[in-house]
């Protein structure tokens, strides 16, 4: 569901599959705990993600709030998911690489 690895000086949260409501809810606290527990920048790696729900967007917002916009980024996003972030206006709230 989600793996945490330190890579290139940042905490990378690697997600996989569909980030539906159930999945996002289950991993929300763990992801937030990991993000709060590090001084490193945090990146969500969405290479393996092809679908997100509003619950996953909520997790992104929580982490941005916790660690700050400058320390958070979304990487390896698929075009279909990128479009979701664009439509939601999240590209103004967070760094999407």
């Amino acid at each position: 569901m989600v793996q945490f690895v330190e890579k290139s000086g940042r905490l990378v949260c690697v997600f996989g599959g569909r980030m539906d409501t159930v999945t996002s809810t289950e991993m929300e606290d763990e992801v937030c705990k990991q993000a709060q527990g590090t001084t490193l920048p945090v990146a969500f790696d969405l290479e393996g993600v092809d679908y997100v729900t509003s619950m996953f967007l909520r997790v992104c917002m929580r982490v941005v709030k916790d660690v700050g916009k400058e320390r958070f980024s979304i990487i390896h996003v698929h075009p279909a998911v990128k479009k979701v972030f664009k439509i939601a206006g999240f590209d103004r709230e967070m760094n999407i690489e």
Partner: protein
């Protein structure tokens, strides 16, 4: 005389209202005769008006403006001439629905400086075809050629016994006068082709408005494309009238694996690739960072002239300035819309990266407008199209001419391109005559037998859910 130096809004609107009243009596045959006469007059003057537009505005190329006038007359006329726009236009006996076309009433048409004669011709033809009187408001830098276009059309219309004042054109108007005109109680529609401020004002006027959105057109060349063909078409499009068409390409995205082939093909077509240092010198010449948009002074200028203003030495036969970029957004001004022969260029790592770049470009000021792709792989074309937010996704087609329609595809020829809600417009359609009609529907009694047979008391039984009701409602007796 319909030309007013000092615009008297009440008088203008009173004349327009009278013209609308007379217009409402015309039948299809008479309407079509007027449209034919106006088309012929506009077509006859296509070269003179194009030269006038070029001389007055200093924008674009007169030869390309001739072609624009041809599209606005010949192709638009061909497209609308057989359309039923008067009285009963369709009858469905089975459904009991009869559709009646009624005119909207007076239309206020705002004309842009980039297409001052072609947009005037286009708006006049679609308005007359739908029996709507038109008040033309030219751009202040193109008042002469737009007014002359309107005058030619008006004279031709009168010869076919069109209503007096069916076409009016006004002199320079203050912002307050324009707003007053747009909000006038007798005005039916604002047909606003112009900058975002003007379109916003039209929407805020309280009068129904059809506007346009800004463009920032990405063009993607896929690995499956015919590269020399794609490059030739892009150059044809981006240099057309020196890049003044809002559907023209603004940024070219290619995968790394074919980048060198694309660059070579572009250089063979007289495209000049700027160095990073030259791009930095170009930026303040073509983009106003304070205002956040392109410099009006370079709109429709040639590549050589723009390069000269930026002190960049280019060969005399340079057709296009290409500026390699690494990002999209406010921090990268050359990733924005520039209506001139200046094209941003991106190398992407792979298809996913390329499409992500196109999404970024599309959302950076061009939502709902146009996107372009060159590919011979249907899956790639579909994936790309599904991910763009664009009213027109043109395939293997120069996007300037492709977006306008009628030459390289069967989109309806138009000089007002709807951009959907993303561009703050009501439609993504190419605007044409059908958008200027009120459609009335006669609805004959055709009883829904299932509803009549159904025991309506069951609706009050709260224990029955939608599935249960549907089962009973649709049961064959």
């Amino acid at each position: 005389m319909s030309h007013m130096e000092d615009v008297d809004i009440e008088k203008t609107m009173a004349k327009a209202a009278r013209a609308a009243a007379i217009f409402s009596q015309l039948d299809q045959e008479h309407t079509d005769r007027i449209v034919r006469a106006v088309y012929e007059a506009g077509f006859k003057n296509r070269v003179r008006l194009a030269k006038m537009a070029h001389e007055e505005t200093g924008i674009g190329k007169w030869q390309d403006k001739v072609l624009k006038n041809v599209i606005a007359t010949q192709l638009v006329y061909e497209d609308i001439k057989d359309e039923k726009t008067v009285g009963i236009i369709s009858e469905d006996r089975q459904r009991g629905i009869v559709e009646i076309a009624q005119p909207l009433g007076p239309i206020f048409a705002i004309i842009p400086v980039t297409n001052p004669t072609s947009t005037t011709l286009f708006k006049i033809l679609i308005s007359l075809k739908t029996r709507n009187p038109l008040i033309i408001r030219p751009h202040r830098n193109a008042a002469g050629c737009s007014s002359e276009t309107a005058r030619i059309c008006y004279e031709a219309a009168l010869k076919e016994d069109a209503p007096e004042d069916c076409i009016q054109w006004v002199g320079e108007m203050s912002r307050a006068q324009t707003q007053s005109m747009m909000g006038h109680k007798h005005l039916a529609l604002v047909l606003a082709t112009g900058g975002p401020g003007l379109v916003q004002a039209a929407y805020s006027s309280g009068t129904p408005a059809i506007g346009v959105g800004a463009g920032n057109v990405p063009v993607f060349i896929d690995k499956s494309a015919d590269i020399p063909f794609a490059v030739e078409q892009i150059l044809l499009s981006k240099t057309f009238d020196n890049g003044t068409v809002c559907a023209s390409e603004q940024a070219l995205v290619v995968e790394q694996s074919i980048a060198s082939d694309v660059v070579a093909a572009m250089q063979a077509q007289k495209a000049y690739f700027l160095s990073a240092e030259e791009s930095a010198r170009l930026e303040p010449v073509v983009f106003d960072r304070d205002k956040g948009n392109m410099m009006a002074s370079i709109v429709g200028k040639s590549a050589v002239e723009i390069a000269g203003r930026a002190n960049i030495e280019v060969p005399e036969d340079t057709r296009l300035l290409v500026t390699p970029q690494t990002g999209v957004g406010d921090a990268y001004p050359l990733s924005s819309e520039i209506l001139a022969p200046v094209l941003a260029f991106y190398k992407a790592d792979n298809f996913t990266h390329a499409v992500n770049l196109c999404i970024d470009l599309n959302f950076h000021g061009g939502i709902g407008h146009t996107a372009s792709i060159y590919a011979n792989d249907e899956d790639v074309i579909r994936q790309f199209a599904l991910l763009m937010n664009a009213g027109r996704i043109v395939v293997n087609t120069p996007s300037s001419q492709g977006g306008v329609g009628g030459i390289f595809n069967t989109l309806r020829p138009s000089f007002t391109l709807g951009c959907g809600t993303g561009g703050k417009n009501i439609t993504t359609d190419n605007i044409t005559a059908k958008h200027l009609l009120n459609i009335q529907r006669i609805a004959r009694r055709r009883v829904n037998d299932r509803f009549v047979r159904f025991d309506s008391r069951l609706y009050f039984d709260e224990s029955l859910d939608a599935g249960a009701i549907e089962g009973l409602f649709n049961r064959n007796l």
